[in-house]
Symmetry: none
Subunit: 203 residues, 4 copies
DNA sequence: AATGAATGAGTCTTCATTCAT
DNA sequence: GATGAATGAAGACTCATTCAT
């Protein structure tokens, strides 16, 4: 209601947007708060009004970014009842989101990684959240007798890592041109392994 | 023979060893050259005598570390003629090396990642080298009619990423207790996908 | 009006004043920004807030100093219509300014000289400005038929150098006690050469 | 006689030559002993064997350089009995030496100037030596009744400064193309002032 | 809310000098 | 005599953070 709060919130978002841009371009350590302030058309003090410290700003950004990512993926999964199809949907949506939000991808998969021990916990949360999502599908499929016994956690993390590395490669080398083009190969590997789908899989 | 050169080389190695320790504990940005100097029982100037800059030191370290890793994995592969068994060997050896060289693992898979754009190239080299190794196995196996057609590059990177993420998880959470315990699940996923080996595979 | 800007400007001037003192006492290279900060009762960061680098600070100082000097000399010349009398006035005023601003003299005539190639351009500007001033008098006097043909540029620079060296000697040896006492001899040399004024000096 | 001493002396000279080159290109502070060592095809230790410190090296260089300059000028003066002609000879020879030894000129007239208080004494020596040379001519001419009374010291220093500034201008701007071309104008100014030689110049 | 001047600790880097070999 | 590895003090510069206005 109060106009003032609205403005404040808008300002805050402005700062977060600038932070996404700058942090994902320069990395955590090489980013100066001054730069964030400039990009958000605010002042240094302005940034500090909304976030108590650089660390907190980065953390908030990670929160927002991973929240958005998870939300989108979860939404895609929610619409898919079949557990394995849900896994496919998650995979496809993840590639879609990363592919259309390069900055977010770079932030989460590159810049946040070596940024300092303070951020490992947050990153772990993200890893765990995704792993849990995937593990959920797997467990459900297993319960339905569709899958054999396996170490769900390991498989879930490996799955997640496979996707990430494809995204990282895209970020760093530009290949494949369209990230989503990696979907079929990824899907095939994760579902059927290197041997590919049995016999006459319709591709 | 020349005593002096030997000492110099030893000193250089001493510095690299210290650098591995400090960089992988604190990360690139949070590491002070002073700290590296102290750990190598040298002086700051001593470090700078052997390496022209912090960046160069880190780069040299990445070189050495990835060189060692690759060497070990390639050695394991060299002893295995069958292309698919070779892939397994690579996987197992990678887990073995990382599992017994935590610092090296942390350096390559965590600290080097967000350390700055200057290091992306070097990291890409490593990614590419591994992907090429794996892609070599896959292509050979395909040529032998053992595998169906697939996007080798994507699959190779995904494979590599799957392994890395399992290692990262181990680094950050300590699970699984022994990294090599992740081998069976990883191998199964990468070879047969989530559906696992066909029928009564002897596990 | 805006109080803040006023303070900022005052601070800036404070730093410049301190810089004049320290640079002209210790020279460019032997001056630490810390020292300038201390003398200006600011912090190192404060200095850097107003000047982007040591070099820029020194340059700004040279600008200010040579600006002041030129202004005073030009003012003295402006009041003197006769071209040759104007030359005398310039000479006398230069000695006056240097004589009462030892730091400025030392800065411009000693410390700035070997301070580095980056400052040569600025120094040249000063030389050129003075030479132009003097050359102006000479040319005007020539046009009025008071002087014979001569290489104005060389003469102007020589004139300027003659004055400077007398000032430098005063700076380094303390002689003559009062710089302005050098005026008659200098004036005589520059106007009439070593032979001095003809018999009953026309003047 | 002893070969060893000869070599040592040659080495020493090698270092001095390198020092002249490097110091006059980079200035005192921006010159690293390493650079001098490299240019003299010696090692850092080698330089320190012949000169106890950077300061001592620079001082020795100043000594050698001003010695050479003085020697040449004194030689030119020795051959000229008439006091005023001797002054002319000194002037001409100074321009000749500087004109054909740019590095020496730059060293003495630019780089040594703001190099630090430690070198002021040495520079003063040079100034005093030249002033004394010139003052000698003047005094002798005065004794012969050729010149009127004047403050010899001031005139001598001014004379010296006039020459120097012309040389400095040449060093910094490249004008006049050939330094010796400045001779006539300089000579005229110093002998007859801005009014130039009386009527039909005796020359 | 916002600004931007100010602080000062922290870092990389340079380099004169020393000295074992 | 000469080398070059090693030292450590010194210094420019950065930047997260604070705070008066």
């Amino acid at each position: 209601m109060p106009r003032v709060q609205e403005r404040s919130r808008a300002r805050r978002q402005q700062v977060l947007d600038a932070a996404l841009q700058v942090f994902s371009e320069r990395g955590y350590s090489d980013t100066a708060i001054d730069e964030v302030a400039r990009v958000s058309t605010t002042s240094k003090g302005g940034v500090y009004f909304h976030f108590p410290s650089k660390q907190a700003l980065f953390l908030a950004l990670l929160d927002e970014a991973s929240g958005q990512l998870l939300e989108r993926v979860e939404a895609a999964m929610r619409e898919t009842p079949d557990p394995l199809a849900r896994g496919e949907a998650a995979l496809r949506e993840a590639l879609r989101v990363f592919g259309s939000h390069r900055l977010l991808a770079r932030l989460l998969l590159v810049e946040a990684v070596g940024a300092g021990r303070e951020f490992n916990a947050k990153l772990n949360e993200l890893h765990a959240a995704f792993a849990t999502l995937i593990a959920g599908c797997l467990d459900e499929a297993k319960a339905a007798g569709l899958l054999p016994e396996c170490d769900t956690q390991i498989v879930a993390h490996a799955w997640y890592g496979a996707v990430n590395q494809v995204v990282v490669r895209w970020l760093l080398t530009g290949e494949p041109r369209r990230l989503e083009d990696a979907y079929p190969a990824l899907r095939s590997l994760l579902f059927y392994g290197v041997f590919g789908p049995p016999r006459q899989e319709p591709r």
